[in-house]
Symmetry: C3
Subunit: 412 residues, 3 copies
């Protein structure tokens, strides 16, 4: 998964930009993305799609022409969606437009200003002391023009139209953990899931943050009723425990399955309610009037967040693989779960139906035979039973499948 990261991370992936479009093209070679284009100026519910933005040369120089800062060195050196500028400014005025992060003085901060526009540069806090002259020339050759915001999706059809959506955002120039790690895990999961058939239909979405999801949903309202669950993925490569952010509903089957898998598979993780761990596109999918229950899985927080230190050096294939396995297991249970409903009456004659489990073969199952038998009333799923009895989903699934094969239950 690091290959995708290494190839794309340094691109100028602003929300409507050539760098973003190039990144989409790159991924299209791996999975067959369908690309939705929404033109600048389109009203998307309460939002409006911004113009495409690009930046040519940009620098700060002293009046002798010595460059003090040059965009060529790093895409972060100007704020995303900066206005163009070309003038001589006093040091005092320059300082108002020079963004730094005093908490991380050796790194260039990532700044953006999509809607209340201004011009601006970003620089290491440590470097401020270099600005000793009285006046500087500031130059940004940026351009705003009609363009198209691009949202892409890849759909794997299942037995049903009911859809599980996975979302990651592809924007944020030169950021790695914030965005690209979610993208690469999502792409890998999509590839793996395309090899099998599933109960649910799966949609894998790559979007520019927030406006991308709002634009996609508002232009495709007919899809919304089919979306049953969602997972937002990002910040999965750094060295921190996983953080599960619950859906707005807070206790859907997806919330419970995700918590169950994390409890069983991980030594440690943390969990928080909707919008209390980390904010992202779940606010669009799971927000007012949309209400698709969407969890978010990340390894937030991490100290390099939104600085030039969020680079390939802080993420690892091992972490990405752990996250990927976790999400696949959540999807496995979600997809295979069903509600068994009893056809029999009275306690089942276990030995007569070969349903007796010797404790020497599976002690936990042996102890819970009767409890499982009592929970087949059609009001609990196989997962619910496993969770209530603190058992492995697979063990319960296999045992309940036996009841199905003997004609003792139906699937609701």
């Amino acid at each position: 998964m690091m290959e995708l990261i290494n190839d794309l991370w340094f691109k100028r992936r602003d929300i409507v930009s050539d760098g973003y479009d190039e990144s989409l093209d790159y991924i299209s070679k791996t999975i067959p993305l369908k690309i939705h284009e929404i033109p600048s100026g389109t009203k998307c519910w309460t939002w409006i799609v911004p113009e495409k933005w690009s930046a040519g040369e940009a620098y700060i120089e002293d009046l002798k022409g010595n460059k003090v800062l040059d965009l060529k060195d790093c895409p972060l050196h100007i704020i995303s969606y900066s206005l163009p500028v070309d003038k001589i400014v006093t040091r005092a005025e320059l300082m108002k437009h020079l963004h730094t992060n005093p908490q991380r003085p050796g790194a260039i901060p990532f700044e953006f200003n999509y809607y209340e526009r201004d011009w601006g540069f970003c620089i290491q806090h440590n470097r401020l002391k270099e600005f000793t002259k009285d006046r500087y020339r500031v130059f940004i050759d940026s351009k705003f023009e009609k363009g198209s915001l691009k949202v892409s999706d890849y759909t794997i059809k299942g037995e049903t139209d009911e859809t599980v959506v996975l979302v990651a955002h592809l924007c944020h120039p030169a950021m790695v953990n914030d965005g690209l790690t979610g993208v690469t895990v999502l792409v890998d999961i999509a590839k793996e899931m395309s090899l099998k058939t599933h109960h649910y239909t799966y949609k894998f979405l790559l979007v520019p943050e927030t406006i991308g999801s709002v634009a996609y949903l508002s232009q495709n309202e007919d899809i919304i009723p089919k979306l049953k669950y969602g997972i937002f993925l990002e910040m999965l490569g750094n060295n921190n425990i996983h953080a599960l952010q619950l859906t707005r509903q807070g206790s859907t089957r997806l919330d419970r399955i995700a918590r169950y898998v994390m409890k069983r598979e991980l030594t440690n993780f943390r969990e928080g309610p909707f919008r209390k761990v980390i904010g992202n596109d779940e606010m669009a999918f799971n927000g007012p009037g949309v209400n698709v229950p969407m969890i978010s899985i990340s390894r937030y927080p991490y100290p390099e967040y939104h600085t030039s230190d969020d680079n390939p050096g802080i993420v690892s294939e091992e972490n990405l693989n752990e996250s990927k396995a976790l999400i696949l297991e959540i999807l496995n249970i979600l997809d295979n779960d069903y509600i068994p409903k009893r056809k029999f009456k009275g306690p089942v004659f276990l030995s007569g139906y070969d349903l007796w489990i010797d404790w020497r073969i599976n002690k936990k199952l042996n102890e819970n035979i009767e409890q499982i038998m009592l929970k087949l009333e059609g009001d609990k799923s196989v997962f619910d039973i496993a969770k209530e009895l603190n058992m492995e989903f697979n063990d319960v699934q296999n045992y309940v499948n036996k009841f199905f094969n003997k004609g003792l239950i139906t699937k609701v």
Copy 2:
């Protein structure tokens, strides 16, 4: 408010009596009371309106004609609704009819016996030792006759017929904190509220305790469905913290608003369930078959209760004003609260609608913008939102009103 108290407190305000009627007339000069007369003998649900009672001379004297006790000195010297008597009794028999309060030996107790009648005197416990003679003459010139129980109400019409009722009791001769303080605060609130328009209709009721409320409700059953909330007021002048008694339902909007206001406005207060703080007419309004949620606000308990020490000296204008402000704030929230319901979809484009609040202007509001936006589903009122977010009602109201003014919400 002390003026009303000073003018009325010493009157013989028994439940059906001239003193009670005079007090009503006095208050009618301040607010335009409508007076309902219910004749003695009228069946009121399971109750019957008692006769009018009056007392002329009453005294105890020794056989030489020396008066040992004289009603002229204090209205409390005979029990309310005492039977007439005129006979020579032994000291032993007298003692059976002489009521004292040993816990407060310097004060005359307030005693009454409306339904199981007897004759009786009340006296300071300290004075019992003065009764050294063998025999005494007891004389009470009391009279029972057909009369009318009087319940008065003052109504301020609102935008809707849905009514909030405030109740205080005007009976209890020579008592001040117990009854009259509730009356004077109620009258002042009525005067203040008459100056503005309101959502709810407000009814201000002055009644003789219990029988007054039962009589009023039973003779005006058509009003009951309109009564949405009620507040009973009494004992508001003494030096003690406020006591909030919840409604029988226990968690109505009124209960929650009253608790919220007390928590925010008072250093300290206590709270208890229905009928566990102090018993009054909420048992009629909020009782079986009526069910109007009625809280009670008082400063109960106080040591002078039901004795001649409950006089103007133990109450203060300052305490009355604090209680009045508290109740007005409860009514303010109750009246101005509404349920906002979202018309928008997705997260609102805040900067596009000028709904962004800078943290330097209102930090608490800034932190809660998103939470407020998520709570506009039509299942919570503005007050609910303020309470859940631990915010000022006015702040939330003003912010949600902005959504209304931008056409982003409706009022349910």
Copy 3:
């Protein structure tokens, strides 16, 4: 009650057997049992009624003809439903068929194998060391033949067809506390209840464990909807505190009444959820597709369980009587409880209806008059009120009956 125990305990009461049938005949002389016969081979839901089983001679002897173990000495010496056998076996093979209880080495264990059949003997663990020979002759003259499983019931008709069922099991040869104590308490309760009229119809069932209940219910499905509550009785004679096992539903009126009675009548008892205290026929009555709420009352556990030490010496008439009184009180409340519903409005004029209770007569009742009056809305039974107010059921019943007699309430 010890008489029945002494007369029946040593009988060979296997599930379909002559000893079982003789025991039923014996009890039929005390209460008029109706006997349902279900033939061997009958399909009962998922179960099949087994054959009748009987055992003639059975022994182990050495090759010189010395008997080492003889069924004549104790019915427990062979496993119930043992296959017949007659052969010479090595000591090693014998040991595989010789059952002991190492935890209770001086006692013969009770073993059975109704469905996965084998031959086998049971013996004191201490005696294993006597088997020093290389080979032994094993002989069991057992017989399997068509028979009838017998379930018996005794019905006391009440005012309604709604039925409370009490169940005990009569099987288990030579066991006393496990089975017979429940039987004798059940018979005594039946005799006592037959003397009075009741609201509910009562059914007293004696069955072979599990298969008896399954057979009865599956052959009488029309009865099931009438069964409102059930109590399973067993292990009531030993010296241990009572154990209340709740119904599957967990909080039915019966659960709450049983807990209330045990809390009030016993110094100590324990309580557990369905199937977590002791497993018995409640799994048939309260199991899948039947759902009759059935509690179980026992004094489980006890160390002599399922061994030859479970004999008349470990049970006492005193314990049986205590359990009987407890169950009768549970049934008394269940039968006499009703839901009162207010006809009056407002607080009741207590002194006018002679409903005032002086605190000197009944302090607890005096303090709760108002609370009782507030709970007559038709959503609580007399028992609910007593429980909520922590009062004696009889006190509340008598007081609420007064309201009924005055025409102030109806019975829902």
